[in-house]
C-alpha cells in the first residue's frame, strides 16, 4: 500500500508539473487583464514538440542529445524523493536531501554542457549565467535544509516531513521562518522565475535558461521543458512538505487518502498564484543584483543554522 502510494505520488508530481506552469501562466494573464491560454496548454506544447524532428547543430557531439535525457531522468528520479501525499517517498527513507540537491546538480551540469555544445554564443552565455546563479544558490539551499534537518534529527526527506507533520503549526520553531525565507528565495532562483530569470524572455541581455536551450528543438526541447516543469513542481512540493505538510495522509484510512491529494493540490495552487502575483508585480533584477538577492538567502540560511544552536 505504502509502496503504491510512493509510486503514485512520484508519478503525480511528474504528471501535473506542466499543469502548474499552465496555471501560473493563466493567473498571470488574468492579472495583466488578458484572457490567457488554457491551463492545459503546456501539455499540448509538449505533445507537439514530441512529434517533431530533433534538430542537431553540425558542430555538436553526442553529448548534445544526451544532456536533455539525463536532465529529465535525474529530475524525475529526484521527484521520487519528495513526500507528497503521505510523509514517505520512494527514495525518502534511503535518500536524503543532500543526495536530492546533488541529483538536481547533475541535470544542471549536463544542461550547461549541452548548451555549450551548440557552438554559438548564446549557449555559453546562458551556461555562464546559470553557473553564477547555481554557484550562489546551492549553499543557502543546503544550509536551509540542514537547519530543518537538525530540528528533525534526521537527514531523510520523509523524516523531515514527518517531524513537521507531528508538530503543532502554532508552535513551530523560529528556525522554520528563516529557513522558509531562504528557501523561497533560492526556489525562485533555481526554477528561473522573475526576479532572477524571466521564463518568457528572448532578449540576449536578460535570458539565462532560455539562452541555454536556444539550440534545442523537438523532443529534446520537450524533455528539457518537462524536466523544468517537474523541477518547479518538486521544489514547490518540497516547500509544502517541509513547511506546511498538514493534511498529508498519516494513516491509510479512506478519508485521509481522499483528503491528501485535495490538500496538496490546494497548497500547490496557492503557491502557483503566489508566483504569478510576484512575477506580475516585480521587474526582473539586473544580472549583477542577483548575487545580492542570493546573498540575502545565504544570510537567512546562516541565521537559521545559527538559531538551531542558540535555541536548543
Amino acid at each position: 500500500m505504502n509502496l503504491a502510494l510512493d509510486v503514485i505520488q512520484a508519478l503525480l508530481l511528474v504528471a501535473i508539473a506542466p499543469l502548474v506552469r499552465g496555471v501560473v501562466a493563466r493567473v498571470k494573464a488574468r492579472i495583466q487583464n488578458r484572457r490567457g491560454a488554457s491551463v492545459w496548454r503546456p501539455y499540448a506544447d509538449l505533445l507537439k514538440l514530441f512529434r517533431k524532428q530533433d534538430l542537431v547543430p553540425e558542430t555538436a557531439s553526442g553529448l548534445f542529445r544526451l544532456a536533455p535525457v539525463i536532465l529529465f531522468a535525474v529530475t524525475v528520479t529526484a521527484a521520487a524523493f519528495i513526500p507528497v501525499l503521505h510523509p514517505s517517498a520512494l527514495f525518502g527513507a534511503g535518500g536524503d536531501f543532500i543526495l536530492l540537491v546533488y541529483l538536481l546538480a547533475i541535470g544542471r551540469f549536463f544542461l550547461m554542457l549541452g548548451a555549450m555544445d551548440g557552438g554559438s554564443s548564446f549557449g555559453g552565455m546562458g551556461a555562464s549565467r546559470e553557473a553564477l546563479v547555481s554557484a550562489l544558490a546551492e549553499a543557502p539551499l543546503l544550509l536551509a535544509l540542514v537547519s530543518v534537518a537538525i530540528l528533525a534529527h534526521t537527514v531523510t526527506m520523509s523524516g523531515i516531513v514527518l517531524s513537521t507533520v507531528r508538530q503543532n503549526p502554532l508552535h513551530l520553531s523560529a528556525v522554520y521562518g528563516f529557513a522558509l525565507g531562504a528557501m523561497i528565495l533560492v526556489a525562485i532562483a533555481e526554477t528561473g522565475r522573475i526576479p532572477v530569470d524571466n521564463p518568457a524572455t528572448h532578449l540576449e541581455l536578460t535570458m539565462i535558461h532560455e539562452a541555454m536551450v536556444l539550440e534545442y528543438s523537438g523532443p529534446s526541447l520537450a524533455l528539457i521543458e518537462w524536466a523544468n516543469a517537474v523541477k518547479l513542481a518538486l521544489i514547490m512540493a518540497m516547500l509544502v512538505g517541509v513547511f506546511a505538510p498538514w493534511g498529508m495522509a498519516t494513516s491509510t484510512s479512506i478519508a485521509a487518502l481522499v483528503l491528501a491529494p485535495l490538500a496538496f493540490v490546494f497548497k500547490l495552487a496557492v503557491l502557483a498564484v503566489a508566483i504569478a502575483v510576484i512575477e506580475s508585480s516585480m521587474a526582473k533584477l539586473r544580472m549583477y543584483l542577483v548575487p545580492d538577492f542570493l546573498g540575502m538567502a545565504s544570510a537567512l540560511a546562516i541565521l537559521a543554522v545559527a538559531f538551531t544552536a542558540l535555541m536548543r
Partner: protein, 657 residues
Amino acid sequence: MVQLAFNSFLTVLLLLPAAILLCRRSSRTRALPSLLFLLALLVGTFVAGMSFWRGDRLALDLSWLTLFPFAFAVDRLSAFFLLIICAVGAPVALFSIPYVERHYSGTKADWMWALLSLFLLSMSLVVTASTAFAFLFGWELMTLFSAGLIVIDGDSERRRHNIFIYLVMMHAGAAAVFASFLLFLPHAPGLDFVSIRAAAATMPAGLRTAVFLLFFVGFGTKAGIVPFHLWLPKAHPIAPSPVSALMSAVMLKTAIYGFVRFAFDFFGGGPAWWGYLIMLAGAVTGVLGILYALTEHDLKRLLAYSSVENIGIIYLGLGAALVFMANNSPAWAMVALVAALLHALNHSLFKSLLFLGAGAVSDATHTLDIELLGGLLKRMRVTGTVFLIGCCSIIGLPLFNGFVGEWLMFRSFIAGSELPGIASAAILPLMAGVLALIGAIAAACFAKLYGVAFLGRPRSIAAEHATEVATAMQAAMAVLAAACVTIGLMPGIVLSPLTAMAQELLHSSGLPEAEIPIAHTLPFIAACIAVLVIAVTGFRRIKRITPTWACGLPTLSSRMQYSSAAFSKPLRKVFARAYKPDRTVEVLYANEPYFPQSIVYRSVRTTSFEKSLYRPAVDAIVGMAARLRRLQTGNVQVYLLYIFLALIALLVFMRFV
C-alpha cells in the same frame, strides 16, 4: 607470501635504474624496464590491497644497513596510502609507455624511467616508514626526485625559477617536519614510531602544541594549504603530464598521511582548537583554491589549483574529526575521518585521470591553453568521455566517487549540531554551507573547462585536426575512470576497510547509523536513472543535422563562441575581492581622440600572498643576510679572532653548565 611480495616490490623499484643501464644496449630489451616497472606496481597494488582489505601487517627492518634505525611497517593506514600510490602509479606507468616513447629518446627516456621508479619508491618509503629516519629519508628524496623529473623537460630561466621556489618551500616545510620529530627526543628513547607514540601521551601540553603547529605547517606546505600553496601551481604544470599526475594525485597525499599519522595515531587527537584551526585552514584553502582555478585558462594550472581546493576539502574532514574527538564523540570522528580519507583516495583517482587527460589533449593538440581548444569530444571520443567522467567525479555528482566522500562529510557536519557548546553546534553545520559553496563553484569551473575544451567548435587549427591518442594511454585513463564509477556506485567496497582502519586508529568501535544507507541507495538511484534514460531515448529517433542558428548571419566563427574568460566573468566579478585583479588599459590614439588605433587590455590576478606575505619575508631574510655579510671581512686576523672568541665562549659555557 605478501611479505615476500612487499620486499620484492621495493627491491624492483630500487634496482630499476640498474636494469635500465643493463637493458639500454639492445633495442630488443629496451622496453623491458618499463614493463618491469608496471609489474612491480601491480605487485605493490596487490600487497597494499591484501593489507588494506584483510588487515595483514608487514614489517621490514633494514637497520643493519645504516647508522640510524631504518625500518618499515605496514598497518592499515600505511596500506591505504600505499594502495593510493600503487593503484594510481600503475595506470600512470601504463600511460607513460607511449608518452615517453613519443617525447623522449636515448638518455632522457632512461632518466625518466629511472626517476619515475625512484620517485614512487621514495613515496612508498614515506608511507611505510616506521622510524623517523626512514620517514625523513623518503620525505627528502621524494622532493628531490620530483624536482629531477621536472628538470627533464628542460631548464629555461622561467622553469628554473619555478623549480627553485618548489625546492625552497619544500625544504622549509621539511625543516618543520624534522623539528616536529626532534621535539619528541627528550621524551622518547628512540625515534621509532612505537616510542614516539608512547612519548606523545606523556608529553607536556605546551610541547604537544608546539609539535602540532610544526607538523601542521610542515605537512601543510607539502599538501598546499593556503597560504603555503604557492609552489603548487608553479611546479605541477611544468612537469611532464604523467609526473604532474603523480605529484598532484599521489605526492600531496603523503602529506595527508603524515598529518593523520601525527594527529590521530601519535597524539590521538588534541584540544578542540586544533580541529577548528584545521577546519579554518581547510575552508579557506577550499574556497580560494577553487576560485583561483575558475580563472585559469591553462588546463594543468587549473587542475593544480583544483588540487589545492580538494586538499582543503580533505582538511575540512580531518578538522571535523579532531573536533569530534575533543568532544568525546568518537563515532562521528570516525565518520569524518573516513570521509576525509575516502576523499583523498577519490581525489587521487580522478585527479590523475584528469592530468593524464590533459597530457592526452596536449599530445593531440600541442597546447594546454583551453582558449585554443574546443570540439575535442567529437575528435577524441575515448579521451573526451573519460575526461567527462573525471569532471563529474571531481565536482561530486552522485553516482561518481567524489560524491560519497562529500556526502559522509556533510553527514558528519550536520551531526556536529549535537555537540555540547553553542560554538561547535553552530560552526560544524555551517561548514556544510562552505562545502556546498566549494562544490557549486567547482561545478561552474569544470563546466567551463569541459565546455570550452571539449565541446562546441574548435578554436584553432590544431584542435580541429586533433586525433585520438595511443591505445595504451586510452586504456590507462579508462582504468581510472572505471575505478571512479565503481566507487561511486558501490562505495561499500572501500568504506568497510576504511571504517575498520578508523576503528584501529581511534580505538573505538561501532558506527553511528548514518554511514550505512548511502551505500545501499546509490545502486537503486543509478538503476532508476538508467531505466529512465533508456525509456526516454526511445522517444526520439528522427534527427536532422542543421547549422547552428546564427541570428541570420551567413556563418558563425569559433571566435563567436563564449570563451573561457567570458564564461567565468560573472563569478569573477562577484568574488572580485578574492582576486584583486590588476587591470591595465592602454589606449593608443593615432590623431583623433575618438578613434583609438589600438587598445590593449591586460588583467592579471596578482597572487596577493606573493605580494603581501612572501615578498616581505624574502626581503627580510635577504636583508639580514646582507647585514651578516659584514662579519666576513676577508681579513685572516679577524677570522682568528672569531675562533679565539668562540673558544672562550665554549670554555665559559662548559664551566657553568
